[in-house]
Amino acid sequence: MREGYDHVASLDPEHELSVEDPSGLRFSGDGAAQARKMTLNMGPQHPSTHGVLRVVLELDGETIVSARPEIGYLHTGIEKECEVKKYQQVVTLTDRVDYLSNLNNNLCYALAVERLLGLEIPDFAQWMRVMLCELQRISSHLVWLGTHAMDIGAMTPYFYTFREREEILKIFEMFSGQRMMTSYIRPGGLALEPPRGWHKAVSRVADQLARGIEEYGNLLTTNPIWMNRTQGVGSLPVDLMIDLGITGPMLRAAGIKTDARKDCPHCGYEKFDFDVPTRTDNDVYARYEVRMEEMRQSLRIVRQALDGMPVGPWQADAPQVLLPDREKMKTQMESLIYHFKIVTEGYRVPAGSVYQVVESPRGELGYYVVSDGTAKPHRVFMRTPSFGNLQALGAMLEGILLADAVAVMASMDFVLGDTDR
């Protein structure tokens, strides 16, 4: 066992917790109240922590007195790894950061590198990126909804949401060959040409999703048990939420209308017509309503993309960055040389740095890419929404019941790969 595992960094600096006292009872301090408190470890292995998150709770009966989340159990050194890979190799690492919204991570990285390179992406590639990212957003929200309902105790929505999600994963497999870690959006455009018949497949799935979202709403939105468990739970003052670093649907449920797709237009989002849903209640139920509405708005974007998809190339015109067409590579000498150079040495990106922001299903996702003029990034920092949101977990869990803690954690919709990288 690692040496530091049993060390619980002080929840309360005056009362150092000791391992010899597992019951947590202490007879110092203010007597009876101190004696009642119990330390409960919601350990890294727990079905409701949505990953390997450790939350050390100090309980007074069923009420949480203080909570301290501990992360780092899924830290795999992705940022370090990015520094030794070429720019095109980093794309596959970005998939795995937030493993439920891969395309959004790909998009952020691709946009950052394209800004450093100064590439212009053709319209068709942009619209295709938007469409696939919105499908990814729906897929991520479907996982959130299914697991959130299951945490509260409703088993059924999980099966229904994963049935719809299966259709979306089949679409991704059709495009890229991979269900989840698609790496389909790369600096310069898309990875492969979209397959024949994609339009029919995506519009069929869009119809299915519309029916599915209605079904989940029927199951949960006016369900008295759901409303009882989720309304009035999990609020923090809005200023404190902003101060602590929360972004995304949690802020939108508190009334702040902010969305990186509208505020920092990128990838052609300004050409699409969609609303940013907000609520004012700032509780778990409001966050549920915001994400349900986000799914409907994403579907709206997907339909607009299907109706108005432009024609054109699916990659930028950048022979020094993008691999040449396979046939050309086999017949023309220059293409062969470009292919060889790009694969073995990589393409050099001009020195500079950029902070690119996109809206991930969890909040503000930003990639800070620093280039030193070579073919490998000098630093790739991923400003992930789950890291910022989880910081607020300690404050959000104070004073609520243990059963509500599960609902609050589910409403935060964090992913540990996103947090720990």
């Binding site: 595992y5 960094a9 800004r115 404190l240 500079g352 400003r383």
Partner: protein, 174 residues
């Protein structure tokens, strides 16, 4: 396209000519000697702030200029170049829909004041920079490792730390 080391890649803008960046102008009026350098990067002007004045600058930007939100704090290691480290503060203002980037250059062993007194959300970000780079933040409430185990030696994101770690296998630990 220009290649080269970072100092040659983008133009270095003298503090006297901010090119209409109102945040930088306001900051320059309030703290005349805080801004050491400014550069035009792909996403706007980047300001290099004096290490000793970063917290008053952040407080001014949060309370007066409206940058209520701290997006992230991170570090960059430029070893073997000196100054070795850069601590990057990414700020965001909802009301003005503006983002600004502040950089603080540090030598090895130098400390920075913690920004937790300005934004509570700086807590975990500074812990991460401490954990992965070894930069100390003064007056931080609990500056401990956050990603690596508590007893880890070394700071992994430094450039002189090997990618696969110092040992061949970490399986047979204690």
């Amino acid at each position: 396209m220009k290649y080269g080391a970072p100092d040659e890649g983008s133009e270095s803008v003298l503090p006297e000519a901010f090119g209409g960046n109102s945040t930088a102008v306001a900051l320059n009026q309030q703290f005349p000697d805080a801004i050491i350098d400014a550069k035009e990067e792909r996403d706007g002007t980047v300001l290099y702030i004096d290490r000793a004045k970063i917290v008053p600058v952040c407080r001014f930007l949060k309370e007066t200029a409206g940058f209520k939100r701290l997006s992230a704090i991170t570090g960059v290691d430029w070893w073997p170049r000196t100054p070795r480290f850069e601590v990057v503060y990414l700020l965001h203002s909802y009301s003005l829909n503006v983002r600004v980037r502040l950089l603080v250059r540090l030598e090895e062993g130098q400390e920075v004041d913690s920004a937790t007194s300005v934004w509570r959300g700086a807590n975990w970000y500074e812990r991460e920079v401490f954990d992965l780079f070894g930069i100390n933040f003064r007056d931080h409430p609990n500056l401990e490792r956050i990603m690596m185990p508590a007893d880890w030696e070394g700071h992994p994101l430094r450039k002189d730390y090997p990618v696969h770690g110092h040992k061949y296998s970490y399986q047979d630990e204690g």
